[in-house]
């Protein structure tokens, strides 16, 4: 099976440390064993945190990443470490969400990718950011992620 042959995974099955920054994080990929199928892979990431570049205070977000792989799949432990690398990194909500999307596109060259960043409220108002590489491929099944809306209290 294609995955067993992957030669150079440096993180899966090894002890790892949280990368010091997104730039230092290594996003590893493995061959897509179903390269002729158009299918969607969705990651829900409720454990995302970064630093506000203005105040130095922590920000939190719930991310949902959808992509249609071409030749490569992202190795999921390396995805976890990449997302963890924002822990001490300063980033605005809009920039940060889109930057993650673009980095994944760079590494994976997928048919299509999109990302949603559901940021925790600041000043009583949460911000959601929705970005995708273009129209979804035709004939793809792409269900609504169904993330609950923010509603304050009551």
């Amino acid at each position: 099976m294609a995955r067993k042959a992957r030669p150079a995974l440096t993180q899966l099955g090894h002890a790892t440390r949280l990368p010091a920054s997104p730039a230092a994080a290594v996003l590893e990929r493995i061959p897509n064993s179903q390269p002729r199928e158009r299918y969607l892979v969705r990651f829900a990431c409720p454990e995302f945190t970064s630093i506000c570049p203005v105040t130095g205070q922590p920000d939190f977000a719930h991310l949902v990443i959808d992509y249609v792989p071409k030749a490569w799949l992202v190795e999921s432990k390396s995805l976890k470490l990449y997302l963890g690398s924002f822990r001490n990194h300063g980033a605005f909500h809009e920039d940060c969400t889109i930057a993650i999307g673009k980095r994944l596109v760079d590494e994976l060259k997928p048919h299509w990718l999109r990302i949603a960043g559901y940021w925790y409220p600041r000043g009583g108002i949460p911000i959601d950011v929705f970005w995708q590489t273009g129209a979804p491929p035709r004939d793809l099944w792409l269900p609504d992620p169904g993330v609950a809306p923010y509603r304050g209290r009551g």
Copy 2:
């Protein structure tokens, strides 16, 4: 019926203005027509707003008020106006919630009263304040108000 005989209601059935401050608000009361019954009256007030005394910025809360009337019921239009009178009033969360409870106790002399203030999050953390005049009367039915917990996003 007792309510029809109430002589001096100045707000119900009249054009009214929002009182300029809690102190200016007139909380009116009407005779309890069921004075020998122990029963609970609950108000849910999702339209409460006041001003942060430190920053001058608006605060919002969802209030739930429960009481067991003795001789008096609060006239509900005057309750609405009283709560509306906090609109331009500076108040801390804990103080404000308890002050409303105490004012109602002063006016109504109920068997028992409690108040919950579910404040909207600031700094990522909402504050809830729960105050009551003492243990609830025995043999009273007092269901949980069931207000949803805050959970950020996701």
Copy 3:
């Protein structure tokens, strides 16, 4: 079986009209076929409406009635008609809720009864009224009715 022997039911199995007022409504009862058991009967009544005695406008409520029968059960069609008889009747929220409870106690002489009136919001604030005849009988199972709290919008 006791129910088949009931001689004088005038409503069940007959064409009926909505009674013109609560006073005109006939609450019929049937023998409790399990008179030695302590058990709870709960009615949920989301189709209740009456008239505001001050404005003449309709009011709506969701009622929940719980009782522990002694010798009699309320015949449920007559309960429906009795509740329907408030359609053109003026009544305040607190009075109305408790009056329904007391009428049922008069007719049924139950071991115990309680009523909850969850009234639709007026002036942005709904009123709930909770009344019971006393502490519930010991060793009774009395689950929370679980009615959702009001929360405005969002």
Copy 4:
């Protein structure tokens, strides 16, 4: 990074007061650092209140604002202050919702914008207002905001 160079922000990082009216509020903008991307930014604003121009009584709404930025992003603290400036401003539901949408369009010149105003019930009936500048841009991901419907009680 573009945001650091913004020269004239007068509110972010400064002590601010609630503007006296929408006209007095300054909506500030910052350069969109991803100007070549079509992406959606969503704000959920459960802390909105204004004044009924007929009765002088407070109104409350839950707003959801979606836009696709072109050259500018709205600075979110200034958005919060702008929305807060309706606190003592008289406005009808339909006018108010659309006016906020238009003001944002004027300031931001976005590719597209829409606004939903979910107003709290008056007279037992809430009003929702949905407005957008036109059809959404093609190839944009625009998930349903999922705001809960109003259902009275029960």
Copy 5:
């Protein structure tokens, strides 16, 4: 502002009585102050009741009305009174729902209108009726009303 100039409103700001029948109800309208915008106005009406023309028993429904105004808005107090006028009026579910829709179309001449009637179960089966004047205008935002399905118990 256009609304202030409306000359002949006979209900808003006046004491009113529930009209005796739909035919007797006066649906008043006010000029649409945003006549060049295509926007949606939604009313949720959980307080609707009428009479079954066969049995004379009350029926209840939850109505949702959506419309895109052209020259006129419905004055919402008159809408409330119009809906209240069905209280003693006999009407079948399908007829009644569509008749309300048509009456509003007659009065308002909107770009488009639709109505949903979610009727309470009879015989264990609720009926929903969905009617609209035609395809929705292009480029309109028309979110799903999200009314919960009926599911019996459990």
Copy 6:
């Protein structure tokens, strides 16, 4: 009104018995009083049960039936009796669901009809069956029925 003129209804307003089988059930129809309108009628039927033709054990389903009437409406009491007639009838899930849909089409000759059968789990796996007569009529409003998915426990 058309409905009053219906000459031959044998079930509505009469004492009825559960038909012994679907074949024995009489589905009655009444003239559609709004024959020029395209509108949708939805029935939710959570009280459906039939017999497994292999094991003789009961099966249960929650049915949702949507149709766009042409000349006829189904008389709803006869629909209830028709569905009740499956009580002692053996039928597979797929066949049964579609057979009900076809029978209704035969009787009503509607513009369009669809049926969903949400069957209770057997062997840990529930089956849903979705059938319709063709593409829905254009310009029809056809909201999602929103039936909750099965999810086991937890």
Copy 7:
């Protein structure tokens, strides 16, 4: 293990037919392999149906049965068949619920048992029946079954 030794189970592992009536149903029991432990067993039974003894029409209920076994456990296939035997049996809601509870007590001689019958609405009002053999044993964990309340539509 005790269960393997059970000699006379006539239903489990055999082809069975639905018993013709509750009286004909055989409730089988197996030895409690943990007879010294006080523990609770809960069955949720959303597939219950019986016949109204007055109208001959089907009734439906969602049952929840809780018991603390002493020497015996109920064999669950025989419980399913016993409940299925009410399919063509006439029974009033209160009688039926309590009769099932008593039959189980007769067969199992448990430390304690209770039953809840959540009946589907008739005449717009559902009835719940809650019965138990007495106060629950001390030191037992007995969580709320959490069955959703009935609320009509909306």
Copy 8:
């Protein structure tokens, strides 16, 4: 009826064992008795488990399978056994989900099929996989399965 004539079912109505592997599992099929209808059959499978091929630890998933049958229906007991055969089988999430879909396509030659695999979280991040054979047939009703999103805690 076609199903009764099926000659060679080896599992339904027989004692069966869990197949030792997916390759050893026999997926049986029965003739589609409604071969001229386009309809959808949905299976929800919350009881799926397999083995991680890297770590040997169990994985869990909730599967939803939708298909439009042509000549054949899958016999549901054999589907259950086939899914159960992954219990001791090593498989990656993406491969496993798509392999199940393809196997069903091979056996059933349906008009169309799709599968969703909602995998339980590992490393704080769950993976969903969505695959289908192509665009859904026109004029098919294909409601959203409505599976809840993952959201961590809170």
Copy 9:
């Protein structure tokens, strides 16, 4: 810190295999670093599966385990492996749930422990099993686990 000194953990930080049976599983423990505090530890285990000893078919359950540690905490990786060891083990629902509880009591000698097993439905009826070692310690906070009830479909 006490945990670092634990000498003989054989599973945490090591590659492990799923134990072949519960008897073969090693439940490891670590010193409770807060031995003088009465506190509750709760595990939710939605990934539990075992084998029906009669049919050889898989069973699934959602387990919730609560305990108040005395000298020892359970090492959570060993708990996961212990629960995983039931994968090929035959066990009845009641026995299995209680046996897990007792094994944990044996290993941990806690102040108190309880377990809930929420088993997936078989024959249309799920079984829940609730067992605890006795009354909970006084002055302990023990919130309801809030597991959703089973309700079939609809």
Copy 10:
């Protein structure tokens, strides 16, 4: 008002940095302006993260803190900073939760305090930790926080 007189607050109203560790964090307190009232203050903290001391990987939790103040209230900005100081701090779930509770007790000397830590799942199993200083004060209202249970997928 007491709060205005607090002399030495070093964080509120000042630019602050995230403290480097819990030990370095300064928890500031302000006088309780209602020292004679027994009332509850609840904080919900969905933005908590720390580091696993064994693996160096991030952990996430949702915390709920309840306390009954005596002489002091915690200043909420300092609470936010204190919780943020765990960002780069290694801590086990049980230790960490209880340590936060104890630190607050040390600083505030409240009448009573409790803390719940709802940790995100690891190895498929989340851990909840519930600790309190003793039995809650009598006559206190202490509603259930209502945090949703973990349930995997589906």
